[in-house]
């Protein structure tokens, strides 16, 4: 009996070591590809860092951060990024919830069919998706112009990605199609997991459909909603591939986003320090917005 605690401690230590060893492969990748780059990103943001090997990086303190707020392209990119976030996040959540509510009580085979249809753009590569949308939006032979002209909505072709009045909205529409798949699948699953007896009890007590949804289902799927809000927000903030492949931030910076401007600054202008400073600012914005979402969800 006397040596039982020490045996327990040895057992616990052995289990801990085994646990850490299991974690080690992922931990190495996480540290190597996420934590270290993150630290380097913050560190480099305080330097005038460029590609030139002949000129050493110069420590400039917060000068990169100060310059950001005087850079009209960064301000424009920030504004566009917020427009994308504030439009796409609510639309994705509401549309996904609506679709999921409509299909989650259907027969399994039909529900699976819908899930496949909505999930298809998610698993399709970004390049393939953008090539298709580029054809749809094409100024000269795009199907969208063809349809709208056929219906009499427009009388002249519109350069959807080449006109600063339409380009950002064109990007947002593509983003929505690639963003709703996962939330729909999650909502279908979450709604299916709501305890049916609670809903039935409410209905026996005279609750309407809207009341039973609002008072029973909605609180129970709140964790799923919170997750969807956070990942959609982060994805929207990090909108990059569509911009790079379709518009390069144009026309006239109409589709410039912070993520694309980071890439452009670092890889086209070779201003690594300045680009990393933007990355830090973007991370702070994402963190703040996510914190607000957590707080609101908690209060709800």
């Amino acid at each position: 009996m006397a040596n039982q605690p020490s045996m327990s401690r040895a057992l616990a230590r052995r289990e801990n070591i085994a646990g850490y060893l299991f974690m080690l492969p992922s931990l190495i990748f996480f540290v190597g590809f996420v934590v270290i780059p993150m630290v380097l990103c913050v560190y480099t943001s305080f330097f005038d860092s460029n590609m030139n090997q002949n000129t050493p990086d110069v420590f400039i303190g917060f000068a990169n951060y100060a310059e950001l707020w005087k850079d009209p392209v960064f301000i424009k990119a920030l504004k566009n990024t917020f427009i994308i976030v504030f439009v796409s996040v609510p639309v994705v959540c509401i549309f996904s919830l609506w679709v999921a509510s409509a299909i989650y009580r259907m027969k399994d085979s039909i529900m699976s069919l819908f899930r496949i249809i909505f999930y298809l753009p998610v698993v399709t590569g970004s390049v393939a998706v953008t090539v298709v949308w580029k054809w749809i939006y094409n100024n000269y032979y795009g199907v969208l112009n063809y349809l709208l002209k056929g219906m009499g909505v427009i009388d002249q072709n519109i350069n959807w990605l080449g006109d600063q009045r339409f380009a950002l909205w064109g990007i947002i529409i593509i983003l929505l199609t690639t963003s709703v798949g996962q939330p729909i699948v999650l909502y279908v699953s979450a709604l299916g997991n709501v305890d049916a007896t609670l809903v039935e009890a409410a209905e026996v007590d005279g609750a309407s459909d809207l009341q039973s949804f609002w008072k029973i289902r909605w609180p129970l799927i709140m964790p799923t909603t919170l997750y969807i809000l956070v990942i959609t927000t982060i994805n929207s903030f990090q909108c990059f591939a569509l911009i790079q492949l379709l518009t390069s931030g144009g026309p006239n910076y109409a589709t410039e986003t912070v993520m694309y401007y980071i890439y452009y600054t670092a890889f086209k202008l070779y201003r690594f320090g300045y680009g990393n400073a933007m990355g830090v600012i973007l991370a702070i914005f994402i963190g703040l917005l996510s914190a607000v979402q957590f707080r609101l969800a908690k209060e709800t």
Partner: protein, 452 residues
């Protein structure tokens, strides 16, 4: 705690992406080239030199057939058979090639050899300290045999060369001859000299627009792809310049360029199109949508849109005629394209020596003619007879004397290129007034000059 965790996770995700942009390189800088920097170095005793590497890597942009694996393999196999040095080739695209090379450079994973033009090899990677000085590869005979403009562009200064030129061409524009004839616009072109005046160009565009409606030519400006075409178009219309003669300042804010941009804006048949890059424009010209292409050269003339459907023909079988850019007096100054090889300094003298052997094999040997023909461009070495059996090349040779200043070696070239297409976008989205055009030109020219 939850909030903190969420904040930390969000930051990790963004910073992880952003940090890919670069590192502080001071501690990881490879040793500067201590060898192969002067001709005297090559005179060192052979037994003191490190052994030549048995394998090297080449990254090449799609320079004519040098973007085709089958074509390049035949050349590298011949090199391997003669020297025993194996060559691994990676094929880059202009869309993301620069990103790949820059990423490799910052990670000290650069290839041994790179094939592209002096605007990248000399002005960018060379100026930033990543290239080996290969001035020792140029002896007196080479200097006398190589085209003077190409030779000059490959040297950063009198004793420093970062590129060995293989091929060159003059960029031009292409027109759909059938469409021109149908619209009665063929009267404005001289198919013998391949030249026309600004006035004739304007008349031709108006005739085409009247016949076919809509856009007949596009000032593409979605990115930098093919931007040599739009620069040459604007500069030639009224005799504007892009840089000064010393290549120390960007001068595209001169009144002649503003006049040209205004003229292009006002032409109903010409659209400033920010949804297209040069490659897209070529595709639209090839399928007959556009009646003229500003992004054209001999490689396109030989194989339009790289579609293998016949030289000098569109997809519909219409005839394509190459033309110099229009200018007031009909004497255009064309943009030159120069391509060759440079060596990245990986700090391994054996690999550098092997790379030099490769360059000499391709650019200064009996095999040069094959390397030139693979590119579908003209040899930079005047003694190489690569195309005497090809009538299209012979005809195209009429444009070569029109080569203008090779200004792509001006400092801050990368920034100037991006400023140029952003400027075109702003002009295209403006109300077209001279004041608005001037404002856009001044703003972006100043941005370009900030990088010099």
């Amino acid at each position: 705690m939850k909030k903190l965790l969420a904040l930390a996770l969000a930051m990790v995700m963004v910073l992880g992406l952003a940090a890919c942009g670069g590192t502080v390189t001071s501690t990881e800088t490879p040793a500067p080239a201590e060898t192969a920097t002067t001709p005297a170095d090559t005179a060192a005793p052979a037994d003191a030199a490190p052994a030549t590497a048995s394998a090297i890597t080449l990254w090449t942009y799609p320079i004519g057939g040098w973007g085709n694996e089958e074509t390049v393999k035949a050349l590298t196999d011949a090199f391997t058979a003669e020297t025993g040095i194996a060559v691994t080739v990676e094929y880059l695209t202009y869309a993301d090639g620069d990103d790949k090379v820059n990423t490799a450079l910052t990670a000290n994973q650069a290839p041994d050899l790179i094939m592209e033009g002096p605007e990248r090899l000399v002005s960018n990677w060379g100026a930033n300290g990543y290239m080996v000085n290969i001035a020792d590869l140029f002896d007196a005979a080479d200097k006398s045999e190589l085209n003077a403009a190409a030779l000059d562009a490959c040297f950063a200064d009198a004793n420093t060369a970062y590129e060995y030129p293989l091929v060159m061409t003059a960029h031009c524009m292409g027109i759909n001859l059938n469409a021109f004839k149908e619209a009665g616009a063929d009267q404005y072109i001289n198919t013998e000299t391949h030249t026309w005046t600004t006035e004739q160009f304007i008349s031709a565009v108006n005739a085409l627009e009247a016949k076919f409606g809509g856009t007949v030519g596009a000032v593409y400006c979605s990115g930098q792809g093919g931007d040599q075409g739009t620069r040459a178009l604007v500069n030639n219309l009224y005799g504007g310049t892009f840089t000064n003669a010393e290549h120390t300042q960007y001068t595209w804010d001169d009144a002649k360029n503003i006049q040209a941009l205004k003229e292009l804006y006002d032409l109903k048949g010409i659209a400033f199109d920010p949804s297209l890059v040069g490659g897209d424009e070529i595709a639209l010209f090839y399928n007959g949508t556009l009646k003229m292409a500003f992004c054209w050269n001999i490689a396109q003339q030989l194989n339009p849109n790289s579609a293998d459907t016949g030289a000098e023909k569109t997809a519909n079988g219409d005839d394509i005629v190459f033309m110099a850019f229009p200018s007031e007096d009909g004497n255009a100054k064309l943009q030159g394209g120069i391509w060759g090889f440079g060596i990245f300094d990986n700090g391994d003298q054996g690999r550098i020596d092997a790379a030099k052997q490769f360059i000499q094999f391709m650019c200064d040997s009996d095999h040069t003619v094959d390397a030139v023909r693979a590119a579908n461009f003209f040899p930079a070495r005047t003694t190489v007879d690569a195309w005497s059996d090809n009538p299209i090349m012979g005809e195209y040779n009429k444009l070569m004397p029109m080569l203008g200043d090779y200004y792509q070696v001006t400092t801050g070239w990368a920034q100037a290129r991006t400023a140029w297409w952003n400027m075109l976008q702003q002009v295209g989205q403006s109300d077209g007034s001279e004041a608005a055009i001037k404002a856009a030109v001044d703003q972006f020219c100043a941005e370009a000059n900030a990088g010099t």
